[in-house]
């Protein structure tokens, strides 16, 4: 290739912040190409996707509704990603939060005490934490890969929810639909913007983001997490416990995802259903990276990806586009972000054609894939390479 990557002497701070914007621009361009390919006028599609959902107050409130679970989960996941702990099972932890909190709501269906809701929220947090504790325990005790275990547990959690709403928790007056009773008023999260669905969850999420910001920037724990993530050897030398890091990250993310789960079912949904999340736990991974693993950035990114959900629904209604477009958009955004992030550590350099060939056989000049003359094809070739190479003279 005539273009090569060369390492920058130090990472570019500007690119850290420019990369998400660049990625967003490329995603929108690629999205227009995609829409054109599907036979939809690109500008009309973009309008339906990104402008129409926010054309009224209700749309803005919905943005907050969708951003709430994303922000809650992503801000906690970002802490783990900083520390090199890969919790991919937030979706399952969200589900367990919904099951535990929702179970309390169904158990206390007849009571209308003010303590019902706090108990549910606590139950949700505890449920998510408990589910996250499993991969944390397996990781610290048995060295088991946390990516695979946390992901497997997501499938188990989904099946568990399905089991409950098809069986013991099914609404007795619900015509046999796999749904729980609709939660009582005491078990429903208060709406904070009258006439919309925007609920108390958003302030919770913003508070968590602020708390994580303080934790990362001002506390010893935050410092330990960063060291253990970026320089594990230095962390070990300083006596920072890796086990404690794993436990902390899973507990935080599990609790936050559990809270997101109970907030969803006691807020916008209002009952337990077999499917309670359109993949918030996975989308939150994109949110965390797009937000540069920083609480403020994550808050912005959560709203952007919330818009992608709203846009998908709006494009489905007005342009008859399939809902799957949302997933494609989200995946592309993460791809382009990862691609643009290369510019943080590297810069592209034009090398021109034809060079490099002349270097064949010269000392260590062989760049990757270039030093053809030095590639050992057989034992004899390999030995010959050890001898003085006439081409180098």
């Amino acid at each position: 290739m005539p273009i090569e990557l060369s390492r920058r002497p130090s990472p570019s701070r500007a690119m850290v912040y420019l990369s998400p914007l660049l990625a967003l621009g490329i995603t929108l361009t690629a999205g227009m190409v995609l829409f054109a390919g599907m036979g939809v006028p690109p500008l009309a599609a973009l309008h339906a996707f990104f402008v129409e959902p926010l054309s009224n107050a209700y749309g803005w409130a919905e943005l907050g509704v969708k951003a709430t679970p994303l922000l809650l989960i992503a801000v906690a996941l970002a802490v783990g990603f900083r520390a090199g702990v890969w919790n991919i099972g937030a979706e399952g932890q969200l589900t367990l939060g919904a099951i535990c909190g929702g179970g309390i709501a169904l158990l206390l269906w007849r009571s209308d005490g003010a303590w019902v809701l706090p108990l549910m929220l606590a139950g949700g947090v505890a449920g998510g934490m408990a589910w996250a504790a499993i991969p944390a325990f397996l990781k610290t005790r048995f060295n088991t890969n946390e990516i695979l275990t946390s992901l497997m547990l997501t499938y188990v959690a989904t099946l568990l929810l399905s089991l409950l709403v098809h069986g013991p928790w099914r609404d007795p007056d619900g015509f046999n639909f796999p749904e729980s009773r609709i939660f009582s008023d005491a078990a429903t999260l208060p709406v904070i913007w009258h006439g919309t669905r925007l609920h108390l969850g958003l302030p919770f999420a913003l508070a968590l983001a602020a708390a994580v910001w303080v934790l990362l920037a001002r506390s010893l724990v935050g410092f330990q997490l960063k060291v253990n993530g970026q320089a594990p050897a230095a962390g070990r030398y300083a006596g920072f416990s890796e086990r404690a890091t794993v436990w902390f990250c899973f507990a935080l993310a599990g609790g936050a995802a559990g809270l997101a789960g109970i907030v969803e079912v006691s807020g916008p949904i209002g009952q337990l259903l077999p499917a309670i999340s359109p993949g918030y736990g996975f989308t939150a991974i994109i949110v965390a990276f797009l937000g540069r693993l920083h609480p403020l950035g994550v808050a912005l990114a959560a709203h952007l990806l919330a818009l992608s959900y709203l846009g998908g629904e709006s494009a489905q209604i007005t342009l008859n586009l399939p809902l799957a477009v949302t997933g494609v958009f989200q995946g592309m955004l993460l791809f382009f972000l990862l691609a643009c992030d290369v510019l943080i550590h590297y810069r592209f350099r034009w090398r021109g054609y034809g060079r490099g060939r002349g270097r064949i056989g010269r000392g260590h000049g062989g760049r990757d894939g270039r030093g053809r003359g030095r590639r050992g094809h057989g034992g004899r070739d390999a030995r010959r390479n050890l001898e003085p190479n006439p081409a180098a003279a």
Binding site: S6, L160, L163, P322, F329, Q330, L338, V342, R367, R375
Partner: protein, 309 residues
């Protein structure tokens, strides 16, 4: 049906349930042996499934479907290669992106395919061999992809342990710096390994949509890509053990179906949890011996390589 007939029927279904796992895990094993940890197997399976099914629907040709499945998986793998190998992106993050993207893209491509019926790949009874008692029915009367999965296993075993190219591939996975110093193109070898892994995952998907189900539904792989990843660890990166693992998991999948058919008093959802719980259990059993993982895992797995460093 007599007892042996029931037993053969059960074993046959185990083979069909194990085949997609065998394809996907073998592909991932080769990629990991070269030092590439591609967590996007689930996405590549789904894209292979939808491409394979679409090709069969449009051309009516089963071979075209199989090729399209492999190409679909490889195409998605090439995106991984571009990002993780070409642009030095984190392999873990890129793999996750691949899965998220693959789930979405396959759903988008397959929206018009939902509800279309396909008879399934034809069974090919091998002459003479299929007439053997018991074994004939069990091993020599399958569709082409089952035979291909066995051939692939033999080929991977032979390639990794008996060929120079296999040795080079393992060297790249165990010490990319040394392989580079010897003049091998680390990135090119990893590119081929990644594409091979993608094509295998695509074949796994094609098997799901053309033979196992055979139809297209969104997210039809149901976590098989992740189970395949776990199988590679379970096999401690040895192809023969992938076979054992795949058939073990095929057995668990089928046990769950048969238990339901026999009316065992356990809810369907609990039975469906079994493969996932079993995956966790085997991971724990294998991983608890840190030394074992360390001795067997490719030393450079998941690590980025840049020729200048």
């Amino acid at each position: 049906m007599d007892i042996s007939g029931i037993l053969i029927a059960a074993l046959l279904t185990i083979i069909t349930a194990a085949t997609p796992l065998l394809f996907a895990a073998l592909g991932e094993l080769v990629a990991e042996k070269s030092g590439v940890l591609n967590l996007g197997v689930e996405g590549m399976i789904l894209l292979g499934a939808v491409c394979g099914f679409a090709a069969v629907v449009f051309t009516g040709n089963a071979a075209a479907g199989i090729v399209a499945g492999a190409l679909g998986g490889a195409a998605l793998a090439s995106v991984f290669a571009l990002l993780a190998l070409g642009l030095q992106a984190s392999q873990v993050a890129t793999g996750l992106a691949l899965t998220i993207f693959g789930v979405g893209l396959s759903a988008l491509l397959g929206q018009d395919l939902v509800g279309i019926a396909y008879a399934g790949l034809p069974k090919i009874a091998l002459p003479v061999l299929s007439k053997l008692p018991v074994v004939g029915q069990l091993l020599f009367n399958h569709d082409i992809l089952v035979y291909l999965s066995w051939a692939l296993l033999a080929a991977v075993v032979w390639f990794l342990s008996r060929t120079r190219a296999g040795l080079v591939l393992r060297a790249v996975g165990d010490s990319h710096a040394v392989a580079h110093a010897l003049g091998y193109s680390v990135l090119r070898i990893r590119l081929f390994a990644t594409l091979f892994g993608g094509a295998c995952a695509g074949l796994a998907g094609a098997y799901l949509s053309l033979a196992y189900s055979p139809l297209w539904i969104e997210n039809m792989s149901a976590g098989r890509g992740w189970i395949a990843l776990a199988l590679v660890v379970f096999a401690t990166w040895r192809p023969w053990r992938v076979l054992v693992g795949a058939y073990l998991f095929g057995g668990i999948t089928i046990a769950q179906l048969h238990a339901q058919a026999l009316g065992v008093g356990v809810p369907a959802q609990v039975m469906s949890m079994l493969p996932y719980l079993a995956t966790i259990a085997v991971l724990v059993l294998i991983s608890r011996d840190r030394g074992k993982i360390k001795r067997n895992a490719p030393a450079c797995i998941g690590k980025a390589f840049h020729p200048s460093s």
